[in-house]
Every structure is written in structure tokens, then in C-alpha cells.
Symmetry: C2
């Protein structure tokens, strides 16, 4: 306890009183997005500059304390969960947009800036930041980099990794590595930023970043399509991707169980298409010429109907209809209530295998949990990502672990991934071996040992 | 000498007689693309499988011999140059396309497959592999991954890094790390493939890869535009990128000195536009509907003329005219002859600064070398990449080093890169400090020490 007090005093003296929260101020925060329990951490450090982050890291090192970098705290894999001896490091005071280069199409920000602010600043500058996800208001640039966030537009624009041109990070020994590259092309030696993207704060703390902005694509054409045979879905994806000239931005598949749960069995949405189809596909194209793009979109969907790639289509006429289609896909909060106590999954596998895999998971969970099991399937299938939202009627740890085992084990024959876009954190660590070989995990440990030999940064997460 | 003989015997016994070249067979190959001298290596190992690559690496390790992985030998930075004690490792016998997944849009290949074969196989499958560069016939998948190759379509599709979904590599201790991911989204732990992309064979030898294929974009609209004021070039790029709905694929800028040297002062090309403009911009959009895309392209260029973003335009009518425009941009072999003895450069910096930088380099080289200096400037400016082709009238080492110093030093104020897309190799190693801080270089050494502690793989390259 005396050691804790000494640490807190030293941190206060290094970072000032605004630079550290303890006691009730910590307890007032949630432990994680998934848990309503209060945060347990000993302290939350709130450095105001890269130099203060480095100082906080050196302070923790000298006190033999590990630390957990935290962003918007809306991650889904307990990647920032803290125990009572843990120290959290939040970059919430480092929330400055430093500059926008309109000519070069870049924005330079501190890590604590929320994603939505980047999007808004980009639009103000006549450009766009295309990475988007539900937690846009809370998720920070640092968090989305550390977890290599995905979302709805990955099929066209890639993950967060592809949006990061440069970054600055503080390493476990307090060294600041600044790689604030602003160019699309830079092959001057190893691309060091990759070490800090998607490594969940275990190899360094991202303090600043240069992000790539894109041309704004104001025209949007959106439709919900009905498909009766899964085998046509990959063909439909190829047909739309080719026929829309590269403007296909979203390709979301809703299995019938999802459509029934969210649309047919509730009054929440006016059904855009009849129920009873095995698959519904939400597609969106974004371009620059609403009228011309709409004709092309409608003609192409017409051809897809003729060639029986799809059996029905509801094309959004105007933005209220478009918003209504997206509201079905995004009705996750209600879905969580419908399937309480709910379990959420985020996996990926080659698109051709996704339905076979899904059926097998459904069969095995039904065998194991009987009527306690109810599941829904949906996801960004265009980029191979499936989400399950399901219930087995209990929150009991062992039963939930059994369900997880089914979902993850069945990925193995397809070379699938236990984490498409949410990361590993604590939650999936035990299953890492499903998607990664021993040699891969050994190499991860080797990297960790090389960059953080004392295990100071986010210990126990990922590996 | 006895040790060399023992090594060669051991290699023959491990890899078979087809698995090793020595003596005249080695000398029959060029030392590098830039040098007509014969290859000096002690031996060229030619393993036929990943297991044989691992065996070759272990063999070299046990004999205390370093090795240099080599692809198509068309790199431009002496990244695979070998001395008389060096052992080259070529994957030329590992040239099998293993599979194409049309539904998932992936191709799985061994590293020795040439880039052009990947492009051709993709087209046969109704898809496309968008990364393209002049050396497509010789450059291999392994080489383009190891150097993170770029080319003409990076503005839309990214570098080779963005095309690689998964890979397999042999590490310095002979371990095979297989990360043959086939999904667009996979956040299951550290993204290990990044260690082997763009690290020029210094951290591992890439043996196989899964590459992302895209929808084919058969419609092509191409134009050469004249611009009188550099300040409008970044605006033109933004205007075209936005106005073409995301189909802008190439944005190549030719400075007047390039246009004069290649077009005006020769009979090689029929001039598509009058001479005398300070800048010529070659733009190409690729989509799926030739007729609709052409109207949009022409209308947009008409608006650019009206708003004075451009002062003249030659729009290619049909593919012979398109090829003629590209032939100007690609007339590099003749340019090398015109500027003999030529020096080639590959740098990047923020687009807004590119002309100021170029003028300064031109001034300083003129001051230093007087009339012996003649230079041309061109490049994939849409992705911030400038190439210089110049002569200072001599191949004398110290004079050339002086010229290099000017070109690279002047990048510093802009945070530019001494290598946009060709890598560092031996040629640029002395200048790495221009583009990378001490902390960055130290981190590169730390990675190298962690993954290849004995310096077995491509020693002396990059860092």
C-alpha cells in the first residue's frame, strides 16, 4: 500500500493534479464497455503531451508497475480491463487536431481525438475520412490504430492500418519513436508504424498520427437485396464490385434469423422486403454524381434480377429510406436486448465457406444448448467478416466458454480468424491457437520480448 | 577455400544438383540490373520448396555464411548485390501458382512467380491484380513483397503491402512462419506479415503469399493535360479524384524538362500537346462502363479547362492514342540514353512542396556541375513520388555522391523520403538518416537483432 501511495505521489508530481485520477474519480468510470462494474484501477494517468507519456512510462518502469493504455473504452474484447494494482494511461487530454493538409490529403492528430471529429474535420476541408464504425463518437484515433479497427467500408478503403500514413509512439523504455510520414509512398527502411497498429498497446503507446484523407463521395445508392441461394452471394459480390466501377462501399449480409429477429418479429422496422428469404444483402455504392450513379446502380440491380443472382430488391429512394435500411443493419442494441443475456462474436473466413460454417455452428449450439440457444448471423461479408449475436440463456462462465469453443473451433477447417476486427484482448487469448500456429505465436512473443522485455505494456493481453 | 568447397558440397547434397549453381553458371548472370558486370557470388542456391529454403538457411547458418535472397534481379538500389564470399538464394524454382479463389478474390503463389503471371492469371479468372510496374515480366512476387513495390496505380490500390493478405517466410534460424491468411479482415494477434514486407530480405525470406485480387476495370479513359501554374496541380488532383467518383487510377506529372527531352527534342513521339508548358499531367481513370465513364471524364476535364485548373488537354480516343500517351511517360530507356551517363532517383515528399523542392535541387546541381548537369523530373505525383533522371557528365564516384547528397539533403525540410518505392539496399544506406531519426534507426536495429541476431540475412543492406 505504501508503494501505491509513493507511486501516486510521484505521478502527481510528474504530471500535475490534472494528470492523474484516483479513488472515486476512477470508480466513476466503467470497467469496460461490456461491464457496468466500476473501473478497478489504482490510478488513471492523463498525460498532456508525448513527453508526459514518456515520463509516465518511465515512472511506471521505475516503480515496477505495468500500464494499460486506454482509448474510448468501447472495445469489445476486454483489451483495457484493469485490476486494482493496474495503472491505466488515457490520452484523453491529448485531443488536439494539429493540422490538415488539404493539398496532400492528410490530417495530423493527437491520439485522444475521437474518430468522429476526424470525420467532421475532413468534411469541413472538403475531403473525407472513410473509416467508420458505431462507436465513432467515443473511439479514439489511438484506440482505432491500436486495435486496427474495421467497420462498414473496409471492402473499399481497407482497415485502420490502411488509413495510417505515419505515427508516433512511446516505447516501454520511454523512447519516443516518431515516424510521422505524410506520403503515400515511403520505403526508407522498415515501416515501423506497423509495430504499433493492431498490437493493442502491447508494444508501444501511440501518441500522434498522420491519417490519409480521401475524396468525399457524396452520392450514395443503397439497396436491400433478397437472395435464396448462398452460392450466388460471392457471385453477386463480384458482379457488383465490377459493375459499379469500384464504387461499391458496403456489402453487408443478414441471415434470415437476423432479419426475422430484427424486422419480422418486431414492430421496430417497416419491412423493406417480405420475410422468408434465407439471405438479405445490404449494399451501398458511393460516388460523385448522384443521378448518373443511381441509373447505373438500378440498371445493374435489374440485370442481377434477370440473371437470378437476386430474387428481390428494395432500392432506397432518398436518404430517409436509406437510413431506414441501415437502421435494420445497425439495430444492435435492440438485438442485444432481444437475445439477453447476449454473446457477441466477430470472426472471419473465406466468403465461399461462410454459410457452411454458420450452419455447423448453429447445429452444434442447438445440440449443446437446446432451446436455450437462439442465434442470429450478420456481418460485413464483403470483407469476410461474420458477426454472431446469440444467447445460450445463461451468463455462467463455463457454459459461455463452451459456446465460444464451438464458434471458434469450427473456424479451423477454413483457416478462419477468431477476430476479424475487434482484436484479442483478454477475451480471446485462450483461443489464439485456433487461428495462429505455434511458430506465429512464438514470433509474437519474440517481438514482445524485444520491444518490451519487462512486460510493462498491457501485460496479459493478446499473447 | 576449403571451407567454400565444403559448403558447396554440403549444399549440393542437401538441395541436389539442380539446387545450386557455381562458377561459370553464376558468372553468366548479371551482378545487378544496373551493372553489366558478372555476378560474383560463390554460389546461387535454388531450393525447390519451403522446406528446402529452410534447409538452405540452416546450412548457411551452420557454415557461418550469410545469404542474400534474390528475386527477378531488377531492383534499383543494389539490394541483392553479392561479393565473392556471398551466397545468393533464388526462388526461381518456386514458381508455381498454387490456387485462385474466384469467390474470395485471392491468388496463392510461390514467391518465384513473376508479377506478370499473377496479372495474367487474375484476368483469366475474370479479376485483376492492380499492382503494375515496368519490370513486371522479371520482378517476382517475393521481390515485390520484400521491397514493397509501388508503380502506377498506388493512388487507387496502394503499394504491394496492401495487396498481400498472407505470406509464409523462413526466418534466420530456419523456422518457417506460415501466415497464409486469405481474409480482408483478420485481427487475431500481431500482423506478422508486416515484418517481411518492405524489409528487403533482412528479416526473413518470403516463400509463398496470398494476394488480393480486385474487380477488373476494363474501361480506361486517359488524357494528357497542360498546367501552367504548379499551385493548381494539387487542386487538380483533388478535383479529379472527387469528380471521377473514385476511379482515378493514375496521376503522373511530367515537368517541362522531361517533356522537352522526351518529346520536343526528339522525333520519337508525335506531340499530343504543344511544348512550352511548365507541367504536363497524364491522368487515367478506370471503371466498368466505357461510354458513361468517357462522358464523365470529358465533362470533368471541360470544367477543369473552364476553371483554369488546366490550360490544354489531349484526350486519348481509343487505345492507340492511349498507348502513345503512356509511351511518353514510359520512355525511360531512351531517357537513360539521352542523359548518359544517367543517374536515377526515387524520392517522395508532400505534393504541395514538390515543385519548390525540385527547383532547389536543379539550382544547386547547376551551381555545382554547370553545363555538365542536365536533369528531368517526372513521377507518380498523385502519391507524392518524384523521379529524377539526370546526368552530371561523369560516373566518378565522389562526384555522383555529391549529386546524391544534394537530391537527398534538400528533402529534409519537407520530411521527404529518400526512397519512395525502390527501397534502400546498399545504394541509399548512407543517406537513411535524412529520412529516419536516430530513434527509428535504433528500432530497426533492435528488430534485426531480435529476428536475425547473427546477421545472416542480406547483411549490410537497408541498415
Amino acid at each position: 500500500m505504501a508503494e501505491s501511495t509513493a507511486f501516486i505521489e510521484a505521478a502527481e508530481s510528474a504530471l500535475g493534479s490534472a494528470g492523474i485520477l484516483t479513488g472515486e474519480d476512477v470508480r466513476a468510470r466503467k470497467a469496460s464497455w461490456l461491464k457496468d462494474d466500476p473501473c478497478q484501477a489504482l490510478a488513471i494517468l492523463r498525460p498532456a503531451s508525448t513527453e508526459e507519456v514518456a515520463e509516465a512510462v518511465r515512472l511506471c518502469a521505475s516503480h515496477g508497475r505495468s500500464l494499460i493504455p486506454v482509448g474510448g473504452n468501447t472495445g469489445l474484447v476486454e483489451g483495457t480491463l484493469a485490476g486494482p494494482d493496474d495503472v491505466l494511461l488515457s490520452l484523453e487530454r491529448m485531443n488536439r487536431v494539429e493540422s490538415i493538409d488539404e493539398a496532400g490529403g492528410t490530417i495530423t492528430v493527437q491520439s485522444g481525438v475521437p474518430l468522429q471529429r476526424v470525420q467532421e474535420m475532413a468534411i469541413e476541408a472538403g475531403l473525407a475520412f472513410p473509416l467508420d464504425l458505431g462507436a465513432r463518437g467515443s473511439a479514439t484515433v489511438g484506440g482505432t490504430i491500436s486495435t486496427n479497427a474495421g467497420g462498414n467500408a473496409v471492402i473499399r478503403y481497407g482497415m485502420m492500418r490502411e488509413q495510417v500514413l505515419g505515427l508516433e509512439a512511446v516505447m516501454a523504455d520511454g523512447t519516443v519513436v516518431s515516424s510521422m510520414n505524410r506520403m503515400l509512398k515511403n520505403n526508407a527502411g522498415y515501416d515501423l508504424k506497423q509495430l504499433f497498429i493492431g498490437t493493442e498497446g502491447t508494444l508501444g503507446i501511440v501518441t500522434r498520427a498522420v491519417l490519409r484523407l480521401r475524396a468525399d463521395m457524396p452520392s450514395r445508392n443503397t439497396a436491400l437485396l433478397a437472395v435464396d441461394d448462398y452460392a450466388t452471394i460471392p457471385k453477386l459480390l463480384r458482379e457488383l464490385d465490377a459493375g459499379l466501377g469500384g464504387t461499391l462501399t458496403a456489402f453487408e449480409v443478414l441471415w434470415q434469423d437476423f432479419y426475422d429477429t430484427v424486422v419480422t418479429n418486431t414492430e421496430r422496422h417497416s419491412p423493406p422486403l417480405p420475410d422468408g428469404h434465407p439471405f438479405y444483402v445490404l449494399v451501398e455504392a458511393r460516388g460523385s454524381d448522384q443521378q448518373a450513379d443511381a441509373s447505373r446502380f438500378e440498371e445493374l440491380l435489374g440485370r442481377c434480377l434477370e440473371s437470378a443472382l437476386i430474387v428481390d430488391a428494395a432500392i432506397a429512394q432518398g436518404s430517409p429510406q436509406r437510413d431506414a435500411l441501415w437502421a435494420i443493419r445497425d439495430d444492435i442494441d435492440n438485438l442485444v436486448d432481444d437475445l439477453s443475456p447476449a454473446m457477441a462474436f466477430d470472426v472471419s473466413l473465406p466468403i465461399a465457406d461462410a454459410d457452411r460454417y454458420t450452419r455447423r455452428v448453429h447445429e452444434r449450439l442447438t445440440e449443446k444448448f437446446g432451446e436455450d440457444y437462439r442465434g442470429t448471423t450478420f456481418g460485413h461479408l464483403g470483407d469476410s467478416n461474420i458477426h454472431f449475436m446469440l444467447t445460450i440463456g445463461t451468463t455462467e462462465h463455463d457454459r459461455q466458454a463452451d459456446a465460444m469453443r464451438v464458434v471458434y473451433e469450427e473456424l479451423e477447417p477454413y483457416g478462419g480468424s477468431i477476430s476479424a476486427e475487434h482484436g484479442i484482448g483478454i477475451e480471446k487469448r485462450a483461443f489464439l491457437g485456433v487461428s495462429r500456429s505455434e511458430a506465429e505465436v512464438a514470433l509474437m512473443h519474440r517481438l514482445k520480448a524485444a520491444l518490451d522485455p519487462d512486460g510493462l505494456l498491457n501485460p496479459g493481453k493478446v499473447i
